[in-house]
Amino acid sequence: MKYFLLAFMLFFSFFVQARGITMGAALDYRFERGMDQNISPGNYLNVFGAYRFDPFSVGVEFFQKSADESKAGTVSVWSRKSGLLLNGSVTSYQTKNLSFYLAAGFGFSKQWVQTTLSDQKDLDSSRWYMMGYGGLGLRLNLLTSFYTAIEGRLYLAENQDPEVVWAPLLKAGFEF
């Protein structure tokens, strides 16, 4: 995880002097299949930054799913998924406060699982899984530099159930 944060900081140390930098966070409700076999929204927290040069924007996004824990008796399983995405978007329609955009991204994810059996704890991690997404969003500029957005994405990824996952995102950010 520290590598994710390092990459994130490096990216922004490069762009921090530039104009048109946006930074923010998003709640990413990916509809994945859970242990109960229902497809329900998983709570991912995403943080992102982007460099905007109208009508385009490029950026990087780090995401992490809050840990899941399931257990019975002396057996319990804890797991967490994180990843990094390189994003691009293009604004296709814009009014004074409202803009409509198309977005796409590509990156990698990794999963960690800790299995506990009585006193024994084993931590395992996956290899890096490839992933990508396409989406569209609506951005609302509320104040001079603060904005919110709603975005819909379709994720394609290795080791994802179902194979195509859709997700609504609620985003908020600042533009410097």
Binding site: R33, G34, M35, Q37, D68, S70, K71, A72, G73, T74, V75, S76, V77, S79, Q111, V113, T115, L117, S118, Q120, D122, D124, S125, S126, R127, N159, D161
Partner: protein
């Protein structure tokens, strides 16, 4: 050494479809997370293969289980080992692994000679929502249903080792399916209750029950001596009760023996349900009950369910302790000795079926008979069974 570890060690030669999974596994003393090789899985998402298929929270329709085919979630670590990422996946992978090893054990000991189309894909239902006689959702249990030809695991809510990862419990349930197919099913509808065996249904191991057993044993001991070759008689209803009770007890007892033969664990029931330490096989043997003892217990209107297990315990401890003494005095490898015992047990079940068929309508099977048949099939055991009577 048990079939469980024996099967694992025999897989040194790589099978083309081998997958490695990390699951809780019995390692001689306790359960540990271990990497186990499986050779029969054809789909790692729906967990399909020749050993088992799964249904999640199924219902019954037209005498068939109908339910959702679960999808499991795993990751592959840098060594290519599949790691389950939630509890359900751990449970299903563990069940699959054990049913694959049990199928290998069946091939090894030749179970296919006694049951048609064996080994076969086993249907395993997990997270079963079953209502008990009090109208409550059942929990903390596992059973084999002969009618459905399926294993049913209801949710585990206690704080010990879940039944679905307990090798001995799975071996125990597997034996119920052998007992059903070799003995109960061919006998027809005469003894239907015998198929409804569970891992445990005893409430508390109360002292008065133990006393009851002791009384029943004392009461029948005189009749028992010298009467093993003859078949005592009883009226029809009592006779049915008697045989149902005896068969259920025998089924439970031999299933405990099978659970130990497979897992190498003598206290597997206690590992999942600590209140049932009475089922440990390495406790002293107290002999089997007499005809009168079984008559008395089988006529108990309220406690039959609990008492069945005491009959089971008497068979289980007798076979286990006699086997241990035999092994001590004979130079033989443990795995070979266990193989001989399991083969003899199966052959004795086939003969027991014939004995039942031969019984006249007013005759009773003597409780010692199953052991006599076993020692006929494994003569080396006879001295020790006689000694432990």
């Amino acid at each position: 050494m048990s079939f469980l570890t024996g099967c694992t060690q025999n897989q040194k030669e790589k099978h083309p479809d081998t997958v490695r999974v990390k699951i809780p596994w019995f390692s001689g003393q306790s359960y540990q997370l271990r990497t186990i090789e499986l050779i029969s899985i054809t789909d790692m998402v729906t967990l399909k293969g020749w050993a088992a298929r799964f249904l999640l929270s199924p219902g019954v329709s037209d005498q068939q289980l109908v339910g959702l085919e679960p999808r499991i979630h795993t990751l592959r670590n840098s060594e290519g080992v599949y790691i389950p990422t939630d509890y359900l996946s751990t449970e299903l992978l563990s069940l699959y692994a054990h049913f694959e090893k049990l199928a290998q054990m069946d091939i090894d000991i030749g179970t296919g000679s006694y049951i048609e189309n064996w080994p076969r894909v086993r249907t395993i239902a997990v997270d079963v929502k079953q209502i008990d006689s009090q109208g409550q959702l059942q929990k903390d249990n596992a059973r084999f249903s002969g009618d459905l030809d399926a294993f049913l695991f209801v949710p585990y809510t206690m704080s010990d080792l879940p039944f679905s990862v307990n090798a001995g419990v799975i071996g125990h349930e597997h034996f119920h399916s052998l007992f059903y197919n070799i003995l109960i099913k061919p006998l027809g509808a005469s003894y239907p209750d015998s198929a409804h065996a569970t891992v445990h249904q005893m409430s508390d191991l109360e002292k008065d029950l133990i006393q009851k057993i002791a009384q029943a044993k004392r009461g029948g001991s005189q009749i028992q001596s010298g009467s093993t070759s003859g078949n005592p008689t009883l009226d029809l209803n009592e006779r049915d009760n008697y045989h149902r009770f005896l068969l259920r007890g025998l089924n439970e007892g031999l299933a405990d023996v099978w659970g130990w033969l497979y897992s190498g664990d003598t206290s597997f029931v206690e590992k999942s349900a600590s209140q049932f330490s009475m089922r440990n096989l390495d406790l002293p043997s107290f002999g089997v009950l007499s005809v009168d003892g079984i008559k008395e217990l089988s006529s108990s209107p309220t406690e039959t369910e609990n008492l069945v297990y005491y009959v089971g315990i008497s068979y289980a401890r007798m076979v286990y302790s006699s086997f241990q003494e035999m092994k001590k005095e004979n130079t033989m490898s443990e795995i070979e000795a266990k193989k001989e015992l399991s083969q003899a047990l199966l052959r004795s079940l086939v003969r027991l079926k014939s004995e039942y068929i031969k019984l006249k309508t007013d005759e009773l099977l003597v409780p010692q008979k199953p052991l006599d048949l076993l020692t006929d099939e494994l003569p080396r055991l006879k001295t020790y069974i006689e000694k432990n009577k």
